[in-house]
Amino acid sequence: MPNSTHIVYRKSSWWKLNQQRLTPWIFLFPGLLLFLVYVIWPIFNSLYISLLQWDGLSPAIYVGLTNYIELLDDEYFYISLLNNLKWLILFMLAVPIGLGLAVFLNQTIFGIRLIKSLFFFPFVISQVVIGIIFSWFYNPRGVIGPFLDKIGLSNYAILADENFATYGIIFAGIYPQIAYCMILYLTGLNNLNTDQIEAGRMDGAKGLSLFKNIILPQLKPATFLAIVVTVIGSLRSFDMVAIMTQGGPYGSTNVLAYYMFETALSEYGYRMGYGSAIAAVLFTIMMFYILFFIYRMYQSEKKGL
């Protein structure tokens, strides 16, 4: 008996000594475990699968870089890549438009809070719903129909026009993104340094020059965040494409995110290896942004420590 109490005592003193060192790991354990299993490991696993020929059921065959070589000759891959680029470039418009809206709405009139929330509305709603709304909107027998008739474009369906369908989807996708950028800038405008603005005004800065030289630099954190979320938003275009066109007509609205899904998990086949190769390309593109973001955060962490 005395022996056992002795052990308990020693245990607790060992714990007391190492508590500071061990506690963070105990707290990290569940989160880190889940994250490693569901996020980190799958990334490497996908990169490995991209070297296989595999339908998900029968034994996989190692084929080296064959999938990537096939990508080089795949017309749909290039269409998707080009569409991703269109998404990215046009999505960037959400940043200045959001800024414009924020400046426009940054007033204190009766009901402005409600008005700002209503402007923000599209972001709260699911992209699936936004996609359905715009499909209905674009339908020549739908909401836009009467207007199309007036301008002599009756029965024009943008989503069925392989030259313009992508722009139709991007327009729908950018709608909630503008709302997001707007809210970022509204917060930024709310936290401006009043003294600097007043000093600027004293010096005679007005309108555009005040905006360019004093306001915009102060909005830099908001701009940075707006660009980061917009780039990521533009690369996550899956929902909109899936709802509005499923990549059609003739694959003209495909983006990497949707093309990958289609290759790996749809009636067009279960080509896990090829799908993973597409995902790997998408991942590589995204990685540049992630590293850029991490680098920025690391810099500010170093300053903070």
Binding site: V37, P42, F121, L192, T194, L210
Partner: protein, 283 residues
């Protein structure tokens, strides 16, 4: 204050601003107004092409009733709640712990782990898709709510950890030090000091994650197949395929799907925006 408060402008500007704001709001919301109008119409209006005129019948409630009676909408909504609520609780609870660990302890791997969480959070879903689907299959959780929730919790842990860590880091460190000197154990510091102080962050994260997960479509498509576990986003998509011509019902369904996140947003607006704009005002 930028721009100059409208009250300090000439009368003419003030008046035109007050007209311009509601007008632009109306234009901005045209797509949403369009779908709301459609949802109260009957089939007669739709086939007659009356999309913008005054609805000839007010059928919102009967359309909603139709949707619930003729489609599995009710079970989709219940599934959405069954997926969303456990995910919110799980992700927030786990990230309180990870956030605390990364914010208040110095150890070698600290920043590395923190950045791993952030980087993972930005990764495109497609690079995770096949392994996660396989894993879920192997655990026997494919096509179940549990399988989807487990993944969501894991993935959201990235963003939530970033959020909680930065919030806890901004708390005064003296609080923890004082408690330690008093002999409070690390677990009690977490439970009695950190958790109560992070309540605003917990609220902000909860509304954000609720909205993200409620609106998730991709993972619902990848990990769920049958109606019994399908959330409302995937459900709407399948209705979209079946109902090409009955847009009034589809509109009613879309509105039903949008209601919970919209209510959440209006009730918790301050927290929601605080969460989204984290970092927008400071470097």
């Amino acid at each position: 204050m930028f721009p100059i408060p409208i009250q300090k402008r000439p009368l003419i500007n003030r008046i035109s601003y007050k007209i311009l704001v509601p007008v632009s709001l109306f234009i901005w919301l045209i797509p949403l107004i369009g779908i709301m109008l459609t949802s109260i119409r009957g089939l007669g209006d739709i086939t007659a092409g009356n999309y913008w005129g005054i609805p000839s019948e007010f059928l919102l409630f009967s359309n909603i009733k139709d949707v619930f009676q003729n489609t599995p909408m009710l079970s989709y909504i219940i599934n959405s709640f069954k997926i969303t609520i456990p995910t919110v609780i799980g992700a927030v609870a786990i990230s309180c712990m990870t956030g605390f660990a990364l914010a208040s302890y110095k150890f070698k791997a600290n920043l590395f782990i923190f950045f791993t969480f952030i980087a993972g959070n930005f990764v495109p879903f497609q690079i995770l898709m096949i392994p996660v689907r396989d894993l879920t299959f192997q655990m026997g959780l494919y096509d179940t709510v549990t399988g989807l929730v487990l993944f969501h919790v894991a993935f959201q842990t990235g963003f939530c950890t970033l959020f909680m860590r930065n919030f806890i880091k901004a708390l005064p460190n003296e609080l923890f030090e004082a408690a330690r000197i008093d002999g409070t154990s690390e677990f009690n510091i977490f439970l009695k000091i950190v958790v109560p102080l992070t309540r605003p962050a917990i609220a902000a994260l909860s509304v954000l994650i609720f909205t993200f997960i409620w609106n998730d479509f991709f993972w619902a498509t990848v990990l769920i197949q049958g109606q019994h576990a399908m959330p409302i986003t995937a459900g709407l998509k399948s209705l979209n395929g079946q109902w090409v011509t009955v847009y009034h019902l589809l509109s009613a369904g879309s509105i039903i799907a949008a209601v919970p996140p919209v209510i959440m947003f209006f009730l918790m607006q301050k927290h929601f925006i605080a969460g989204l704009t984290l970092g927008a005002s400071k470097g």
